[in-house]
Amino acid sequence: MTARLLAPLAVAAALLAGAAHAQDRPNLRIGLREDPDIMDPTLARSFVGRIVFASLCDKLFDINDKLEIVPQLATGYRWEDPKTLLITLRDGVTFHDGERMDAEAVRYSLLRHLTMQGSFRRGEITDLETVEVVDPTTVRLRLKQPSSPFLSQLTDRSGMIVSPKAAEAAGRDFGARPVCAGPFRFVERIAQDRIVLERFPAYWNAASIHFNRVTFQPITDSTARLANLQSGTLELIEVTSPSDVPAIRRDRRLALSTVEGLGYWNLIFNIGNGPRAATPMGQDRRLREAFDLAIDREALIGVVYEGLHTPTAQPIPPASPMHVRELRPAARDVERAKALLREAGVRTPVTVDLMVPNSPETRQAAEVMQSMVGEAGFDLRIVATEFASSLAAGVRGDFQAYLIAWSGRPDPDGNVWTFLHSRGAQNDGKYANPEVDALLDQTRTESEPDKRRALYAEAFRIALTTDRARLYLWHPKVIMAYAARLQGLALLPDGLIRLQGVRLR
């Protein structure tokens, strides 16, 4: 294993990096659940890609454990008016190619995110109108309209600043050799095998980085990933299968870290997307409420997820200050569910097709639900579908109910608007209620936290408690396992791995 790290190329690169201190600092190997997609912040989509970016590309802002926005490449911000944001930048930061990170580079990067063909960032910062360079360490962002989620977008890929020189030279191939201002710089990538980064000595916060090299290895099989950790060929892994957790807890050489995540699992009902919405389930909210009452979330999480995840009835996770505390999942009540079905005048069992993407755990969760709702009078038919096919069927409306996850965003807008607003692109069930639309639009401009939370509470009361547009089930925990020698790892709800301050003893 170590031999692989001594590849001639790697040796040469290490020498160039000033190998004087290289011996002092160990290397770190991280096991990911899958191979990231393109490593260009503007074009990237995948969650695992964000984990790698956390070591490669610093952002204007970051979040803390309370999901508050804290400076990273920026030093501060000030709203001059609801549409004008003044950001001051850290002085003396350089990119991996030695270029200076200044206001001009910020302007370039933001405009690249906004205008590049096929940019996946455009939707996130679509409210941005212009970026003005005030002086080398100050930029002024003008928005088309007031936007409360805007700033939080700059804590993720939209806030990543790339070297203008390198980005200009590489064009659309920038992702093959990304040049940013993060703690590590890009060395090599072998698709489906590894991504290697090395310590960037000129990093603005270099003192907090205690590794010489970080290697990210995609290992799809969760048992194999854990075996790598147990046999010492990896130091840190993403745990995707909670059934591995008891074994990790028993092993004294290993440590486990879990934190409340930002995402959720939910059941989408097809209410208005094409002919398959024309079912009792799609047309009668009482059936959907009965379905909800028939499910015991705690029991399901106990059976499938070792009791780790958190039951929920809403898209905003408990970790968020916008979480609506009053909205809790109803306790299981099969009699009430049966009564609702009688009231609706449907003949039982009510047949419902549930589309489920093909992971073993999801399928098990569906089987548990199948058995629970069966007692209330539903004949739940599980349609196991390959993931990409299920996405397509979801968009097309070729489903009655669809069990799917959302990885979550720090700002509640990213968890709500696009799913419940009638114009939301990910509103696969095509739920539409003008009242809800109006409330959700207000959440985007309301900057006062308490008022914003009240708007969400009201929107959920209509869309969820009354209309039953979707059935929110649980918030998954972020779970990481690592060698007990690894210290100082602080997991945040977004599930990214921040290596600042992390050491290997």
């Binding site: 299968s241 059976v303 093909n358 073993p360 399928r363 199948q370 058995s371 579908t385 390959e386 096919s389």
Partner: protein, 292 residues
């Protein structure tokens, strides 16, 4: 086999009776037959002999090791593994048996044709076979799942399509071999029509390898069905098949090994039995294997 020139054995006994006598003398083959029949019976009688409902979940008995109540233990949803193995025999035996039969009927005629006719017919069939072999099974399966809908029968079709090239190749190789023997040359010189040559001289020669391959392919088909059920083809949950039971067990190999062991053992036993049965059949049918 019809009693044609080559199999002319100087005995009064009818070929069928002789085959049966030979088969019964083969003790292992008889054992194989008994096991296969036992599994078929178990599949047929599953509703009556299974101790539990194979889809009945029990949250208080999740992944319990084998006990007096649950002889094979319980699975991740607290279902009885023994009952699921018994019920699962239905889907798995069907998937194995039917898809291999379909692959045989699809592959053998084309292989024989290619091997006997030669020339451009051979070229065409062989190159199409090469092309089929190069299409990844996964693509075929996903496309079929979308096109035909999720069902066990469609999984069998996908398995049959992807298993057939091997039968084409085998039949072709053996037909080419047989064509070059003196018998066939002699038969041709005597003016026998090609189809009769194929039937009487070539088929008996290619039966042994085809039988071996078919019995092996059953194992592959049973296991392949499992991966298909995850693509939306194959047995749909919560109904069991041995393959899907194995798949579910994958996450719990260390925590609940019985979830993998029993369906795995069932596959092994069926495959072993079918292979022994195949050996016996081949001996019984092979006109040349005398004196045993």
């Amino acid at each position: 086999m019809s009693a044609t020139a080559a199999s002319a054995v100087p005995r009064a006994e009818s070929p069928g009776r002789r085959a049966l006598r030979r088969f019964l003398r083969h003790r292992l083959a008889v054992a194989g037959l008994v096991v296969v029949l036992a599994f078929v019976l178990a599949a047929a009688l599953a509703p009556w002999i299974a101790p539990f409902d194979p889809v009945a979940t029990s949250w208080s008995r999740i992944r319990k090791p084998p006990s007096e109540l649950h002889l094979f233990g319980t699975d991740e949803n607290g279902r009885d593994v023994l009952s699921r193995v018994l019920w699962g025999a239905r889907a798995s035996l069907l998937a194995g048996g039917l898809s291999v039969t379909a692959a045989l009927t699809l592959g053998v005629p084309f292989g024989l044709l290619a091997g006997l006719a030669g020339g451009w017919v051979d070229t065409f069939i062989s190159r199409v076979t090469d092309a089929m072999l190069s299409v990844p099974f996964l693509i075929l399966a996903i496309a079929l799942a979308a096109f035909l809908g999720p069902a066990l029968e469609n999984a069998m079709l996908a398995i049959a399509i992807s298993a057939s090239p091997i039968f084409v190749r085998l039949a072709r190789g053996m037909a080419m071999e047989a064509k070059s023997t003196e018998w066939v040359e002699a038969a041709r010189a005597l003016g026998n029509p090609p189809w009769r040559i194929a039937l009487a001289h070539v088929l008996p020669n290619i039966v042994p390898p085809l039988l071996v391959q078919a019995t092996l392919a059953i194992a592959e088909a049973i296991i392949a069905e499992a991966s298909l059920s995850f693509l939306g083809l194959g047995q749909q949950p919560p109904n069991p098949s041995w393959g899907s039971m194995l798949n579910a067990a994958q996450r719990f190999l260390t925590q609940a090994p019985w979830m993998a062991i029993y369906p795995g053992l069932a596959i092994f036993l069926v495959v072993l039995a079918i292979n022994l049965l195949g050996d016996g059949l081949r001996d019984a049918l092979d006109p040349r294997a005398r004196g045993r």
